[in-house]
């Protein structure tokens, strides 16, 4: 047995469950209790593409230092799935704790001597105390939460309060859950020395933070940002964006006098139709969006090209998952950068935003609706499964009540009345963004035929090469304008302290910051920059110029961000060193720091 492993408020615990057995709510309760004790916590679901019967894991990192990225190494395994038990025991760190159901004896070959074995007769107790099979199975989950509350010193009142909040008026259910909780807790207290070496102590490190998943925050951003038409086709991991949008709209978007809806959600027949609905609505002046994942973007590509070329606003939320093809539909990746940035045939480029936290999902979703209207082009909000479907500790969502939607250059009836000469694709202001009109706004002015074919400045069909070139070159002027409007990168330190830099985006942010701390403790100094958008702003280019080498950390195989940096900023490929994680699990600080250490001598010797 490895001695001395343990610690206060610093551990990784993994729950190994069978999906469809009601473990999710018990696991959430565990994580929420840590959060309520004022300790930074980061839970992650690792789940199969299945509804019932397959292994699923819930991994919770608890970190007093506030590191919210995934960490390698499991300190405590709550193993209640016989199917995955051998592997679950194997991955436990030496000196760690195995909490398991000993209603049946652990097979001898699985008994590790270098870990603590904590057997609790969970199902036996449930059969004794609860009448029916389904209830016994459900309560088993609450029993292990009770066990953990004793072993780890989780405040039992916090757990009881969470049960009350979950079941509200249903007193009977509250009583059942309380009973299961105390069964587990008391068993552990009676049979094992509590607490174990990994334990919790109340802190005040949460402040005003909230714990919310990125998809819900994105949906709230769509409500606040004024989206009125949403169209979608179900696809993991994006589906909960629309579920949450519908739920919040039902609550906040009903007309008082009539109770009628100030929004329309169309569940379309496929992704082609979803984006068609969005483009039709936006063409007609409504703020519209869709939520999908990589395969959906592939299907939408033809329409995305139309929206780019005909200059119609559209917002697409791409909750990325593991590709290609059906890939790993329930695992996370950042592997759709290229397919989103350059979606569709012909010369196209699209605006991408990369949120890193739920608060940014909220802000960037609302901002995407503004940018799409301002730039009259598709805008992608690029989240991923990790951000979208897991709860994250996040700054609260904030909104300035004076804030006005930027509807962009749309001519009103009055403006049309006064205007002498108008052409849909005339660059009046020199920013590449023309003025648009909406159907029905004026009896004799402003009507035109929107089309995906080449046209002149007055929207007249033409195959005249010079007119085509003028048009697509203007789109490049607009692209430049976009680079002045999109959210800029965030530098970790105001002043550079090293010749080596590191760039990352989205959910890599947490692990990247932790990795830099790890490396600093070994006197390897790195400057960090989190990229938040495409097109890249000037600061991105400057950062690369200021450093001799820049590590580019991504969660895909082909170094897609690096490709885009080289392509768009004309940077020497030798300057950018890739750190790539693409096994479908969220990237860790250990992984990043290991890769950087390996490449460090190369970087400095060059």
């Amino acid at each position: 047995m490895e001695a001395g492993r343990g610690g206060v408020n610093d551990l990784v615990i993994r729950f190994a469950n069978v999906n469809g057995t009601g473990s999710a709510s018990a696991n959430n309760m565990f994580a929420k209790a840590v959060f309520r004790m004022g300790i930074p916590v980061s839970p992650k679901n690792i789940f199969p593409s299945n509804i019932q019967g397959l292994p699923t894991w819930y991994e919770v990192r608890i970190s007093e230092k506030g590191y919210l990225g995934r960490r390698e190494g499991i300190d405590i395994m709550v193993a209640v799935n016989p199917q995955s038990l051998p592997r679950d025991i194997e991955v436990l760190e030496p000196g760690g704790y195995l909490v398991y159901d000993n209603s049946k004896d652990l097979p001898p070959e699985l008994r590790r001597t270098d870990v603590h074995l904590i057997g609790v007769p969970m199902i036996k107790m449930c059969i004794e105390h609860f009448p029916e099979a389904r209830l016994q199975q459900l309560m088993k989950n609450v029993v292990y939460v009770g066990v953990m509350s004793a072993l780890m010193d989780i405040e039992v009142d916090v757990l009881k309060q969470l049960i009350r909040e979950q079941f509200g008026e249903k007193e009977k259910l509250i009583a059942l859950n309380d009973k299961a909780l105390m069964l587990g807790r008391n068993y552990a207290l009676e049979h094992y020395p509590c607490p174990i070496s990994f334990r919790l102590e109340r802190r005040d490190l949460i402040g005003d933070k909230i714990m919310i998943d990125g998809n819900t925050a994105t949906a709230i951003g769509a409500v606040y940002g004024g989206a009125t038409v949403a169209a979608w086709y179900p696809i993991t991991p994006s589906t909960s964006v629309m579920d949450a949008f519908a739920a919040y709209c039902d609550e906040y978007r009903k007309e008082e006098k009539s109770d009628k809806k100030k929004f329309a959600i169309v569940q379309a027949e496929d992704e082609l139709a979803s984006i068609g609905v969005v483009i039709g609505a936006a063409w007609n002046g409504a703020r519209a969006f869709t939520a999908t994942s990589g395969p959906g973007i592939s299907l939408m590509s033809e329409f995305i090209g139309l929206a780019y070329f005909a200059e119609i606003p559209a917002v697409l939320v791409n909750v990325q998952r593991g590709g290609p093809s059906t890939g790993m539909p329930t695992r996370t990746q950042q592997a759709d950068l290229l397919s989103s940035a350059y979606a569709s045939h012909g010369d196209t480029k699209h605006v991408l935003l990369f949120p890193s936290t739920p608060a940014e999902c909220f802000e960037m979703m609302a901002e995407a609706l503004d940018l799409a209207d301002r730039l009259q082009t598709p805008v992608f909000v690029m989240t991923d499964l990790d951000l979208g479907m897991n709860d994250h500790m996040s700054a609260p969502l904030t909104w300035e009540d004076q804030r006005k939607y930027d509807r962009g250059k749309v001519l009103s009836t009055q403006e049309l009345e006064e205007i002498q000469d108008w052409g849909r694709y005339v660059d009046v202001d020199g920013d590449g963004i023309p003025y648009r009109t909406l159907p029905g706004s004026h009896p004799s002015k402003g009507a035109y035929f929107t089309r995906g074919t080449s046209k002149d400045e007055y929207a007249k069909y033409t195959e005249f090469g010079e007119a085509y070139v003028r048009n697509v070159d203007r789109l490049l002027v607009k692209w430049k304008t976009a680079s002045t409007l999109v959210p800029g990168p965030i530098k970790l330190h105001q002043k550079n302290q090293s010749d080596i830099g590191m760039m990352y985006f989205g959910t890599t942010g947490h692990a990247a910051r932790e990795a830099m701390d790890l490396l600093r403790s070994e006197h390897l100094l790195i400057d960090g920059m989190r990229i938040r958008s495409f097109p890249f702003t000037r600061e991105v280019e400057a950062f690369i110029q200021e450093h001799e080498f820049v590590f580019v950390v991504e969660q895909n195989r082909d170094a897609q961000l690096r490709t885009m940096l080289i392509q768009e900023l004309d940077i020497s490929s030798k300057k950018l060193i890739s750190v790539l994680n693409y096994n479908g699990l969220p990237i860790t600080a250990d992984f990043i720091s290991r890769q950087i250490r390996e490449h460090w001598p190369v970087a400095v010797s060059q």
């Binding site: 909230i210 978007r253 082609l272 007609n284 409504a286």
Partner: protein, 350 residues
């Protein structure tokens, strides 16, 4: 081609109740082949909109890709148009309609556009009973890519080169009735007298109004042996009923022989009168309409007229229970719940 229409107007051209002449409903000069059936349909649309006194700019014209889908340029030049992508007009029309329910939506498609690449979208727009007039200009071939058979070509129909279509035909009118469409008509581009009142009735219908208009392709499918040629359609056209459209302000002036006419009230107080109705089927009965179409297929007739109608139906806005005010006109105060509500939301996640 850069033909311009003369802007000269005869001072005594008749006007509709809005004061517009028929010319105010026209569009650019057609670039389709001389004699194309589609141009006659464009003319019928102009006539119908003018007679209905619809403000031209309150119409949104949408189309897919193909010869048919070019036509929105040739009518209602003061209406916004959207030439979308191949087979995807229904979804764009759906979005547009969701954004602003106060306009009239006119979708134009072809048989390649709707019966092949866009079949999925066609079918689902019907399912949702989108409030749109959906005109299918049906010539049985792909004109713009030089005459390949389309999925609406009849088995055995001969192309210009003499080859026979060997694949089963898709009858979109039957399919639409089967799927629950609330207005289904078939007509012929060469029969303006029938077509104009049908378009008017479709415009007045408060749901998905499908018009399958056989429209010969003079260049690639007007030959002997083609079942979509002018001569074949004229010979086999069988008007199932005649239709008179009666706007709300007018009363029915014609006396129809007893038991041969049926008066139906449409959306917005408009009426239609179906007359010369045969006794063996009823256009308000879905099953009898389907039976009639199946029979016609057996005998080689092309049944035209209003095939099926369900005058009272619930369109997509009604199903989704949206507000009367167009969604695209809602402002921050209508849409944004504000910071206080957001603080409550934050609280629920602590």
């Amino acid at each position: 081609m850069t033909y311009l229409r003369p802007t000269f107007r005869h001072p005594e051209l008749p006007t509709n109740i809005l004061g517009f002449t028929r010319k105010d409903y026209e569009g650019a000069i057609s670039t389709l082949c001389a004699g194309c059936g589609h141009d006659s349909i464009s003319g019928a649309i102009v006539q119908a909109c003018w007679e209905m006194s619809i403000e031209p700019h309150k119409v949104a014209k949408l189309s897919g890709i193909g010869c048919s889908s070019k036509t929105p340029t040739y009518f209602l030049s003061n209406a916004h148009g959207f030439n979308t992508v191949h087979g995807r007009m229904p979804s764009v029309a759906t979005g547009a309609n969701m954004a602003n329910r106060s306009l009239t939506y006119l979708g134009v498609s072809g048989d390649g556009d709707s019966a092949s690449i866009g079949m999925g979208q066609f079918v689902h727009a019907i399912r949702r009973n989108l409030n749109v007039v959906y005109i299918l200009m049906n010539n049985g071939c792909y004109g713009l890519t030089k005459g390949q058979d389309s999925a609406t070509a009849d088995v055995g129909s001969k192309s210009k080169s003499g080859s026979e279509n060997k694949f089963a035909t898709i009858d979109l009118a039957s399919l639409a009735i089967e799927l629950g469409a609330t207005f289904v008509a078939r007509s012929f581009s060469g029969d303006k007298e029938q077509l104009v009142p049908l378009i008017k009735a479709a415009l007045a219908h408060g749901g998905f109004a499908f018009l399958d208009v056989v429209s010969p392709c003079v260049t690639f499918n007007n030959n002997f042996g083609s079942t979509k040629s002018y001569s074949y359609v004229r010979e086999h056209n069988h008007a199932a009923s005649n239709i008179d459209f009666v706007p709300p302000a007018e009363t029915i002036s014609v006396n129809y022989p007893e038991n041969t006419a049926r008066e139906l009230e449409l959306h917005g107080g408009n009426k239609i009168v179906l007359h010369k109705l045969p006794t063996e089927w009823d256009p308000l009965d879905r099953i009898s309409a389907l039976n009639r179409l199946h029979q016609a297929r057996r005998t080689g007739e092309i049944v035209t007229g209003l095939l099926f109608i369900e005058p009272e139906s619930q369109d997509l806005h009604a199903t989704l229970d949206t507000v009367q005010e167009p969604l695209n006109q809602l402002q921050e105060k209508d849409l944004c719940p504000g910071s206080k509500k957001l603080e409550q939301i934050n609280k629920s996640y602590r």
